[in-house]
Symmetry: C2
DNA sequence: CGATTTGACATACGTTCCGTATGTGTGCTC
DNA sequence: GAGCACACATACGGAACGTATGTCAAATCG
């Protein structure tokens, strides 16, 4: 009862999204051609506009997929830690390191906000941001850190992480820069942990 | 000895940059048409390509101008404060509020990095980032805060500020959101002030 | 079981816009 | 005052997006 038709359709959409991920990551959103991208998937622009409406719709689909993957990876990292606060720091360390991956940096962090606007308004609800917000709420609830607006803290820390990753990615000595960035990040995060 | 010719040329470049600021801010980089933009300045694309090379060159010129203005405004805010640490916080508060201005947010914070890449690689050297880095170096030198890599701290705080501004700008209740963002920001910044 | 319809996808077309190549007139130099 | 350099306009080619239309298989229904 899977529906032969619907199954083929999912297959098609998946191929298009995958090709788009590659194209957007390599050439950026503006530089990626819909003709080339669909041809690489063995299709034409007809299929693309039928399923995704327009170029922005395709970007949105790509972002939804990447965002979901990131949230899953972050959850694993956070839950693997013994101590809550330690897990929190590990999670952000993982976030910074993920933001170094060209696909994530280019598509989700640079082109995404520029083309689609503020991430919190995305239909995917930014699963990754929600994940870190929940984590902070948990820390507050457990009394591990003093009360704070969890969403505000998550947003600021995500912003700091993103810029850290941009800095590291463009650096001539990435590993040294990453160390500096992580050190500074921990200093900032500790501002949350200890009351004024 | 001003050179009638050179003076006219500066006038032309200025008019183009000003028209570009308006167009980029209103329609975004991708959505702005060079034809419309130059026509609004009473010129044609010929002038534009002669002076700026290509569309990215024009964006760079616009960004240089805005960046310089921001650095100047930040400096005034920081120097006006009595206490160094207080001045530091005031400066970032001003930064967040500036990032709410559509022109700055759209051009410098969203389209700029997406089109031109990491800001630290911009020819303008990101005067605004340099300004905040210097401020942090001053705090360390005066013993107001424990040693920290000033550039790393400045980058992370700028990133946090930017995301705070994006959040506030897209919010339904901007003033309440701004208050939450500023509160969270202060908590993070205090992580710099007090040693572990 | 055959006719009809739905929908996934391809093809063709018009429009827009960027970058370049070429033309032109005005102001500086000798 | 002649020649040249340069600021700027005009003309052209090409690429890319979105839409409108066509086609063919599969699901539906009498």
């Amino acid at each position: 009862m899977a529906g032969r038709r619907a199954q083929m359709m999912e297959e098609t959409k998946g191929r298009l999204v995958q090709a788009a991920r590659r194209a957007f990551a390599e050439k950026g959103y503006a530089g990626a051609s819909m003709d080339d991208l669909t041809a690489e998937a063995g299709l034409t622009r007809g299929a693309l506009y039928h399923h995704f409406g327009d170029k922005k719709g395709l970007l949105q689909a790509v972002i939804d997929q990447i965002d979901a993957e990131m949230a899953g990876r972050l959850r694993v990292v956070g839950e693997r830690a013994s101590h809550p606060w330690r897990g929190f720091l590990d999670e952000y360390r993982a976030y910074i390191e993920m933001a170094l991956e060209p696909e994530i940096q280019r598509i989700l962090l640079l082109d995404g906000p520029a083309v689609l606007g503020d991430p919190s308004r995305w239909p995917s609800q930014n699963a990754c941001l929600a994940e870190t917000t929940l984590r902070i709420q948990g820390l507050v609830a457990d009394g591990a850190i003093p009360p704070v607006d969890a969403e505000a803290a998550a947003r600021l820390l995500n912003g700091a992480s993103l810029h850290a990753a941009l800095w590291v990615a463009a650096s001539d000595a990435p590993e040294a820069t990453l160390a500096k960035a992580l050190d500074a990040f921990q200093r900032l995060a500790e501002g949350l942990a200890r009351p004024a």
